[in-house]
Amino acid sequence: MHFNSVEFMFAFLPVALLGFWTVRRFSVVASSIWLAAASLTFYWLGEHLGLNINMPVLLGSIAFNFLIGFAIFRWRDWSKPILIVGIGVDLLVLAYFKYAGFLIDDVLAPLGIGLALDVPRGVGALPIGISFYTFTQIAYLVDTYQRKVREQDPVNYALFVTWFPHLISGPILHHKEMMPQFADRSERRKMELLAVGIAVFAIGLVKKVLLADPVALHATPIFAAADAGEAITMASAWVAALAYTLQLYFDFSGYCDMAVGISFMVGVRLPINFYSPYKATSIVEFWRRWHMTLSRFLRDYLYIPLGGNRKGSGRRWINLFITMVLGGLWHGAGWTFLIWGALHGVYLGINHAFRSLGGRLPVAVAWVLTFSAVVVGWVFFRAQTVGGALSILRAMFGGSNAGSVEWLVVAHISVLLTIVLVLPNAYQMLARWQPALLPRDIEAEIGEGSRIRFDMSPANGAMAGIAVAICVCLITWQVVPSEFLYFQF
């Protein structure tokens, strides 16, 4: 079940909220049980309704990691081997579902090593949300090992992992930032939480339905043609790359806004995942603003354990490169994702080297360079084949056939780019309520918020209502195809 489905918005969510607020009047503990049950129901009602691999894998993963966490805390002397076993099994399960097919078909087979194993292949075989809940739980195990958290209640643990706003496509959570919120017994101002949550949700829905889905129509056919080996003109290659750049941004940030909004409706803040990444003027800054919880995970649980920047600049770049390649592979088992990750590893290396040499660029030049590098990266991220990606890039930068583009397409892309670059983001407009957990630097940057502020007036409420109604009409009549891109990861 997607957040932008009518069943979710008008059936599941109202029931889940009504139940939560009713139960919470009597018991905070019971309200946590309600939310855990609602989250599992949400998962069960998902894309593959009925009996299938999704639910057993999720429940098995929760039970296993809860027990491992318990064991790590209980048997201190053995905590390191237990941690290694826990993370190893998590990664093996993830690897089996996500990477075994890729390894057999795309790595070993070309080397002449044939393995006739029946393993899951393709996105359809992947248990929904496994990449996200596996990483969330690995973070939990490491935090438990480091004595930062301790969870003894299986219901609370299940709620932490399955909390439905984040279960399918993140953000990747930390136990210590979530559980105190669920356990908080203080009085909550229900109407205010609902109003702010609905406002953020509506912003996310608009991003998804009105901005991301329509612009995909400019990108999808051109990438499909490139993957099929057809010739691409320079103009259409640029249109495809820019359109996908915008689609991905509005799609994923829209999803994250919706997740933050839903969670805020019960008074629980999720960590911010997007903070205007296309306004970044360096790749380092881009990664501080794009998919922030994944960046945080990769930094805390991969880059730093690898040695981070503590072992000299040469080792630091190698660590960065490894981190980014694995980050790329996390998105999907394929050469295109691996190249995308490696490309960003190289970008970051260059960025750090430039900084260490004391280099500075005018802001406009820095932005153009950063944005162009990101767009080039997205070509690999989007294409189904390396050949398709190279075909698009060749057409973009050295195409002999310039081609032409309809002015309406150019106008569409220009308007969206203007929205991205000029307008404040949802967290700046709603700074007064802080609907998401913010890192300190972002919190300081937001301060009092933007000049364009969103207040809780009836007019704004009506505007949000009309926006949601328009989105519902577009979804209902499937005017444009609608599916969250990060759902497949």
């Binding site: 109003a195 406002a199 007036s457 007019a459 409420g461 009309i466």
Partner: protein
């Protein structure tokens, strides 16, 4: 912090208003016959009017367009000596629609003959709403819509395409007037539900895949209907459809027909197989593998009448 009540009032007020506007549009769009699947809607409407006029000892033919283009009510009436209504319509309509529009109108003493197309026996073939079926029944009003469960109601609405709604609303407010012409509109309907296809010409058509067996869901659905009819004192008689079936699937299709015969017999019905084969050839078809030429239609009807008179009904 300020209260969220004003915002929520505006939000839910706007949503309620939007819901009201959308509902009004749906109501306004209902019951208009226009270009989009209007022919199917009109066929259903005409036949419901005919069925509402009871006649003693009546025979009613219920099927998709295979029955409409493949059986002559007039000829069957002449051969059996009983009044016959051809209440066949379109095989893209779900069984529940045939039930709602036609079977609900048959009365004690009627005999219903089902030369059902193969898809009615299969699971997942035409057992869910489509653009065609939703728009066709919406053109007849909101009656069918109200019978749907809540989840199906939403699906029904989602299948009404914006351009269909626009055309229907324009027709309702007098901004657009539909002129029925071309396509199947060229075949006029008679007072007994027959479609006058005398001018139809044979055109090469591709054969269809009949099917491999009666699906469990289809079995339950059809059986429940037949039992309800039987309980109301209505005779239920099945017969094979007239179809041009692919050579390679004739054996599996024969198996399906054998299962269909058992289905009718198990569920208080009978199954009559005419002497001549129910499997027709390409030269018998006009535009689809279910639509017979006028000559084949008369042959099929006459064979059916012989089989009915010999094994199932008392002919005058």
């Amino acid at each position: 912090m300020m209260s969220g009540r004003p915002f929520l009032a505006g939000f839910f007020g706007a949503l309620a208003l939007a819901a009201l506007v959308a509902s009004s549009a749906l109501v306004l769009a209902a019951g208009e016959i226009t270009a989009a699947y209007g022919w199917t809607a009109n066929i259903v409407r005409e036949r419901t009017i005919i069925l509402d006029r009871p006649q003693p000892d009546r025979i009613v033919i219920v099927a998709g367009s295979g029955g409409l283009f493949g059986i002559s009510a007039a000829e069957l009436s002449r051969r059996t000596g009983r009044p016959v209504v051809n209440a066949s319509s379109h095989a893209a309509l779900q069984w529940e629609m045939l039930d709602y529009y036609f079977l609900s109108r048959v009365v004690r003493g009627d005999t219903v003959i089902f030369p059902l197309e193969y898809q009615y026996y299969l699971d997942g073939s035409n057992d869910t709403l489509t653009n065609l079926s939703a728009e066709a029944v919406h053109s007849l009003g909101l009656g069918y819509f109200w019978t749907l469960p809540m989840s199906e109601k939403w699906r029904y609405v989602s299948l009404l395409r914006p351009r269909f709604l626009k055309m229907q609303i324009a027709s309702a407010v007098g901004e657009y007037r539909f002129v029925a012409a071309g396509g199947y509109w060229k075949y006029p309907s008679h007072w007994n539900g027959d479609l006058d296809t005398r001018l139809a010409q044979s055109v090469a058509v591709a054969p269809l895949w009949g099917g491999s067996g009666v699906g469990p869901k289809a079995y339950q659905r059809l059986c429940a209907s037949f039992r309800r009819l039987a309980a109301r004192g209505v005779r239920v008689i099945g017969t094979p459809p007239n179809a041009y079936v692919r050579e390679g699937s004739r054996a599996t299709t024969a198996k399906l027909l054998a299962e269909a015969a058992n289905l009718f017999k198990d569920c208080h019905g009978e199954f009559v197989v005419p002497e001549s084969s129910a499997l027709f050839g390409p030269s018998d078809m006009i535009d689809t593998p279910y639509h017979l030429t006028p000559t084949a239609k008369m042959k099929r009807t006459s064979d059916l009448a012989d089989a009915l008179c010999a094994r199932a009904i008392r002919c005058k």
